[in-house]
């Protein structure tokens, strides 16, 4: 295992490459992750905007962009069904594995976890660097697949075989890319857990850790234990594709009128079990870090302690644990009998309880508060009702009988996007605005930030809320042309609404980009190391934090959210006399 080599990381000046490219400093790695992830988020979002155009105006040329796309993607500017499926698959993959997780865990986690526990760096700094670069290679492979003849994977982010096994070469690249991304996550999560457990500074007991740290630790355990089965599944699918094995191919397949020449004997449902065994915990990997961020922002801006701090921790741990036992609720329609489905329905109902508790505790924190409507607080507050909608709509999907009608419809898309888009992404926006002054030493523009919030908030609801009506109407996912089915064409008005809201949402993100890019270089300098008057340790160090975070190790004297107990209004963790 890697260990610290004190000579290489002395206090002397380092060259540009050592400092910004192959850095072992968790803060630089965090920024690298965050910037890479945000670029991928933009790319994934841009892809889906093209798809929304096709849905709103089927078989009409995509304005401007259509002309630049190769013939096989956009015929005379009109999106082809193949490219539609490419977007469907790659949007999901990019947003989940290259966007949200690297930003929330790789970016925020890397930057904040060591500082918040009072450590000088991660337990294994070189391993940390390796995990970023392995992630980077995975991202490059995924991106490069766009330049393959035949294009990238086009079989949904779930890559169900046999479709994915008989598909074009893009799928092989997808699997290779996934193997790298999974490996990166594993290295990262080992590092996070060891750092969080072993490197806490004096006085930082487990129940004095900020909720963000707890969220990252639970997330790391999920990544550590849930990702390997997908890695195994990825290897098996690679074997099927490259070496002609039949893990996921049953005997007697006839594809396009030709008998497939494989040994057969495999099981396509096996992939789904292995995939969802990861992909359900993955949902909590997506949401928990955002919970953590929202909890920090809410505590700071309500000026009072988080309600039920320990309850929240127990709920998160229980949520993480239970997330390993619900995966097959994604598979009710595969021909599952009543015993198995009753088990998974029951576990799904159980897992909704800690989610409700988490939401309730955050809502109760507002009671008796003194709410400062800062930009990060707006995003954090919006997270609560948005996550509530996402969570509540999971209920009909988690019951097999209701799922008969709703499975694989737009209802599902609406449900999980409410969790991850106005949910997680809003949490991440809150985090960016909240910690931006600490990371760069400069403030973001408040007016632009508020404009960004309000447009995004209204537009994103316009994108996803109509999907519930469409899903109830039975509109299936992944339909290239919405005019083929009568029951789909009936809600075309909603599709158009949804699409135009997504264009507005896209435009609003330029406000965000302009704000953070301008502010990073020209923004107003912060006057204090603790501009929000916060209590946790990242605000106790210089701005931006020095290479070793804390020149002398701090001691912690109290819990993370002691607000409003003294006339000053907040009691930083590291000050003996509040």
């Amino acid at each position: 295992m890697s260990s610290h080599d004190s000579h290489a990381q002395g206090h002397h000046e380092m060259g540009f490459i050592r400092k910004w490219v192959f850095s072992t400093d968790h803060k630089v790695i965090g920024i690298q992750y965050a910037v890479t992830a945000m670029l991928f988020l933009l790319f994934g979002f841009f892809l889906i905007l093209m798809l929304r155009w096709q849905l709103a105006h089927p078989n009409t040329a995509i304005p401007i962009i259509g002309g630049f796309l190769p013939e096989s993607w956009a015929n005379g500017g009109v999106m082809t069904p193949d490219f539609y499926n490419v977007i469907g698959a790659m949007h999901g993959t990019i947003m989940v594995f290259l966007g949200v997780v690297p930003l929330s865990v790789g970016g925020f986690g890397n930057y904040l976890l060591p500082i918040q526990v009072g450590a000088q760096d991660m337990a294994f700094p070189k391993l940390n660097m390796a995990s970023y670069w392995v992630f980077f290679i995975g991202g490059v492979i995924m991106f490069a697949s766009f330049f393959l003849p035949g294009g990238p994977a086009a079989n949904g982010w779930t890559s169900y075989p046999p479709l994915s096994v008989v598909a074009q070469n893009g799928q092989t690249m997808w699997l290779l890319g996934m193997v790298f991304l999974i490996t990166s996550s594993l290295l990262g999560s080992v590092n996070f857990i060891v750092t969080g457990v072993q490197l806490r500074t004096k006085g930082m007991s487990f129940f004095r850790m900020p909720l963000f740290v707890w969220a990252q630790l639970v997330t790391s355990f999920l990544l550590l234990l849930a990702f390997p089965p997908l890695e195994a599944a990825g290897v098996l699918q690679l074997m099927d594709r490259v070496f002609g094995s039949s893990f996921f191919l049953p005997s007697g397949l006839i594809v396009s009128g030709e008998k497939l020449t494989v040994s057969g004997g495999g099981n396509p449902i096996l992939w789904q079990h292995l995939f969802w065994f990861l992909a359900h915990p993955e949902v909590y990997v997506l949401i928990l870090p955002a919970f953590g961020i929202v909890a920090e922002v809410i505590a700071t801006n309500t000026r009072k302690p988080i309600y039920g701090y320990q309850t929240l921790i127990y709920s998160m741990v229980f949520l993480g644990f239970m997330s390993f036992f619900v995966w097959a609720h994604h598979m009710f329609m595969t021909g599952m009998g009543t015993n198995l489905s009753n088990f998974f329905q029951a576990t799904t109902m159980i897992i909704s309880v800690p989610s409700v508790i988490i939401l309730t505790t955050l809502l109760l924190t507002l009671w008796g508060a003194s709410i400062r409507y800062t930009v990060p607080m707006l995003f954090a507050l919006a997270f609560l009702p948005m996550f509530a909608i996402g969570g509540l709509t999971g209920l009909p999907l988690g019951l097999a009988a209701a799922d008969i009608h709703l499975h694989d419809t737009y209802y599902v898309i609406g449900h999980f996007h409410y969790v991850v888009a106005p949910g997680t992404l809003f949490g991440l926006f809150a985090g960016v605005y909240h910690w931006f002054p600490k990371v760069t030493g400069r403030k973001t523009n408040v007016a632009l930030g508020k404009l960004h919030f309000w447009i995004s908030f209204l537009a994103i609801n316009g994108v996803f809320f109509p999907m519930f009506f469409q899903g109830m109407a039975g509109v299936s996912r992944r339909l290239y042309d919405p005019m083929v089915y009568a029951h789909v064409a009936h809600s075309q008005g909603l599709t158009v609404l949804s699409s135009y809201c997504s264009f507005i949402l896209g435009a609003a993100q330029f406000l965000f980009l302009a704000n953070i890019i301008y502010s990073a270089f020209k923004g107003k300098k912060v006057e204090s190391d603790n501009p929000w008057e916060s209590t946790t340790l990242e605000w106790a160090t210089a701005t931006p934090p020095p290479h070793e975070n804390f020149p002398t190790p701090l001691e912690v004297f109290r819990g993370p959210y002691e607000y409003g107990l003294t006339p000053k209004g907040y009691s930083p963790q590291h000050l003996q006399e509040a």
């Binding site: 295992m1 260990s3 990381q9 594993l186 599944a233 290897v235 094995s245 495999g266």
Partner: protein, 197 residues
């Protein structure tokens, strides 16, 4: 200057160093990886109408030799670690070399087994039995190679640390040993699953 605590001393709460904690976590994820593959094996096998008997398809005597080689190598790597505990770096090198030798024996035998199968036209595409056999033993083989690289490094250039920080070096060898035991353990499950049952 950055100081990372518990690099060579155990943490008072967990009782382990960072590296040892890390390797246990890594092994937990490895358990999930091979666990998923063993589950796959069970599902494919129970779903198959004519799963072949391992002992008729595969070479049991060779695999038995391999099992003995790996178990012995687990013993020698413990002896290597114990030598360090007794401050005997020379004996450490001898036992580490033995470990490497035994793992090389394992790989050579595996190589002959594989080529023999290929000559007889048995490939991953032949049947799901051979597909899962090649996948799992192949992945296990990659783990062996990874372990050998680490062990060779610790025996060679990595042992320079012994002079600077013997405690940390001993800790590293212990971690390598833990990993090696895991790889050995996987084989102890693979052997009966494919060859005997």
């Amino acid at each position: 200057m950055i100081v990372i605590p518990y690099v060579d001393k155990p943490h008072p709460l967990t009782g382990v160093t960072n590296a040892k904690f890390g390797i246990w976590l890594f092994l937990a994820s490895e358990v999930m990886l091979f666990g998923a593959l063993f589950s796959t094996l069970i599902i494919l096998r129970t779903g198959s109408a004519n799963w072949p008997l391992g002992s008729t398809e595969l070479n049991v005597p060779l695999a038995t030799i391999n099992t003995i080689a790996l178990i012995t190598s687990s013993v020698t790597i413990v002896l290597a670690w114990a030598s360090l505990k007794m401050q005997q770096i020379g004996r450490f090198r001898v036992y580490m070399a033995l470990t490497l030798l035994l793992s090389a024996v394992f790989l050579v035998i595996k190589y002959f087994e594989y080529t023999h199968k290929f000559e007889h036209g048995h490939f991953p595409s032949t049947s799901t039995f051979f597909a899962i056999y090649f996948t799992m033993t192949g992945l296990h083989g990659i783990h062996i190679i990874g372990g050998m690289i680490v062990n060779a490094y610790l025996m060679g250039p990595g042992s320079a640390m012994w002079k600077k920080n013997p405690e940390q070096f001993t800790g590293r060898v212990e971690c390598a040993g833990l990993y090696w035991h895991f790889v050995d353990l996987v084989w102890i499950f693979l052997f009966p699953s494919f060859y005997l049952l």
